[in-house]
Symmetry: C2
Subunit: 345 residues, 2 copies
């Protein structure tokens, strides 16, 4: 788990000294950041803008497996995911609060690794870490993150708001993070069986990066502003395209149609899944962990959205009480199901 | 753990139906509440006010023991604590986001119990529940809460800001919650030994209420406004008076003096602790879980603060680099130590 050979116990340092060490040299970069570190709560001044707050809880052996997940990447990924929730409201992330719970299995160096990744993501996306607490845990690692951001009243984009005939757009490509997870799990099994094998990840770098270090799509939210496009509805794609489609369509009981051949899937992802006898479209629809954005736009914005890199139009919103369909490559109309609305938590 | 004899599995309902059920009939009461439920993030409009965000993570067998902690009380207490963090910035709580992680040990009814308590605290303190997610957990129960609130720029009160000769004030009384915990732990031990004993809590109701159902001190923050008192520094008292004194004094390396005979301790708490051969002052200084407010005021505000019920002046801020002392009832000068700054997380 830790490559570093030095191991110092958290109990040697004490909670407040550890927090001071982990938040050393933090200088706010956002004007809106007023206070937080070493306070009871984080404070921001969004002036006339709306305040947007996203909260996530990440737990060991539920949301991540530390046998193949480096702590630095984990910190980066957790920060990225909660920032994505803010972006999915068409808002800009500005501040991040973190509570990290660790058992005595974790050394100071382990917590530092995690925080290095978290702070790297904050740095890359100009978000200030404004609050940190470290707590005990019985066994595993838990990370509770809250991202705060701001948006103008007229830019705020909810899950509701889509209307018939509007275009459904997504950022990035789908299924790569899930495929990266399958690769990691495969290598873990080989390691558990042989105990001497070095994991073989050559050629899979893109998939592993999508799994271990997803990037929040600040570029897309900024590009929408640059193109003066106001999406009518938006959400993050965290549990596959199908669940996100349902989030956008369900509140107004709208139908939708998406085209299999429009769903962006990376070639390496497609080939790797095929070698595992898995259909890429199934993974894109129901796999999860893409952390891309899905949004709807008016047809009149089509020419403008085409100018944005890494955005694909995958279909359109249907009529009220209409069906929700995938048009397959062989032109069949397949009814969509959303896994997230099923039995699983 | 559950008195209710009906037990329905969460897997029967599915995540989104469960969330809908748990957030049924929620109507925002604050003008600032813009969106949240069934969105990627919570949205608030504080107009020209500052946004204040507090985050807490509560974990089973670290922060609470469900063998004697009813889930309804737990929900209430968790909400109360995170609202207290907002109040401790001299801000008013307005919105609450919750992520609850449960293993299959927990039924729908168990999660409903927890949410009933959480929603009761929101209701009592006019705070809108604006976001809820339910997640899986390996074994226990985890609750991650984020409270958002607002304050005017000129009212924001940090931990830093106290100056020499200012008065140190606290709300409520101290040691009762900790004593309540001792009573609960004692009855748990008796139960574990005999397995047929009914817990005997008669006469201890006040202590149990302070432990199981602490109230956020919105009354104090409102009273300070009514009296037109601007505290110079403020913090929540979560780990005993000593740690909070250090939070207020350390940043500017100020000294302080507090008087044992000024520290408010309830008579029942005092008597119960004495019967256990525990010194009440030690518990008040280092016990924790009081969730009261500590703040400093200018001497000129003394007459005004006297008019506020449930506020005690316990001492004063000393000179820079001065010592931090307790003057005992027998007039000895005892150097204060802050447990929270020690080895424990």
């Amino acid at each position: 788990m830790e490559e570093n050979s030095v191991r110092n116990e958290i109990s040697q340092l004490g909670k407040f000294s550890l927090i001071d060490r982990l938040t050393d040299k933090i200088k706010p970069v956002n004007e809106s950041t007023i206070a937080g570190m070493n306070e009871d709560a984080a404070v921001a001044d969004y002036q006339t803008h709306l305040s947007v707050t996203a909260t996530r809880l990440f737990q060991e052996n539920i949301d991540f497996d530390l046998t193949y997940f480096p702590l630095k990447h984990l910190g980066y990924k957790c920060a990225s995911i909660v920032m994505t929730d803010v972006l999915a409201m068409n808002a800009l992330p500005r501040q991040l609060s973190a509570v990290i719970a660790v058992s005595n299995r974790f050394s100071i160096e382990a917590v530092e690794e995690l925080m290095t990744g978290l702070r790297a993501c904050c740095h890359n996306y100009k978000t200030d870490l404004t609050f940190l607490d470290i707590r005990s845990s019985v066994t595993g690692l838990s990370v509770a993150l809250t991202a705060c951001g701001e948006t103008e009243n007229e830019r705020l984009t909810r899950r509701t708001g889509a209307a018939e005939n509007e275009l459904i757009c997504v950022s990035g490509d789908f299924g790569s993070a899930y495929t990266g997870l399958l690769i990691l799990q495969r290598e873990k099994k080989i390691f558990e069986a042989t105990h001497n094998s070095q994991p073989d990840f050559e050629g899979y770098e893109y998939l592993l990066e999508k799994q271990l270090k997803p990037e929040p799509r600040l570029d897309i939210v900024e590009a929408l502003r640059a193109q003066d496009i106001q999406p009518t509805a938006m959400t993050a794609v965290t549990e596959g395209i199908a669940t996100s489609l349902f989030h956008l369509c369900m509140p107004a009981t709208l139908g939708c149609t998406v085209y299999e051949n429009k769903i962006p899937v990376d070639q390496l992802t497609f080939d790797t899944l095929r070698s595992m006898k898995i259909v890429a479209t199934t993974v894109a629809l129901n796999g999860g962990e893409d952390y891309e954005l899905m949004f709807t736009i008016r047809q009149s914005d089509y020419e403008k959205v085409k100018k944005i890199e890494n955005v694909s139009v995958i279909g359109y919103i249907g009529e009220k009480n209409g069906g929700r369909y995938l048009i397959s490559n062989d032109n069949r109309q397949i009814e969509l199901r959303a896994q997230g609305f099923g039995k699983n938590l």
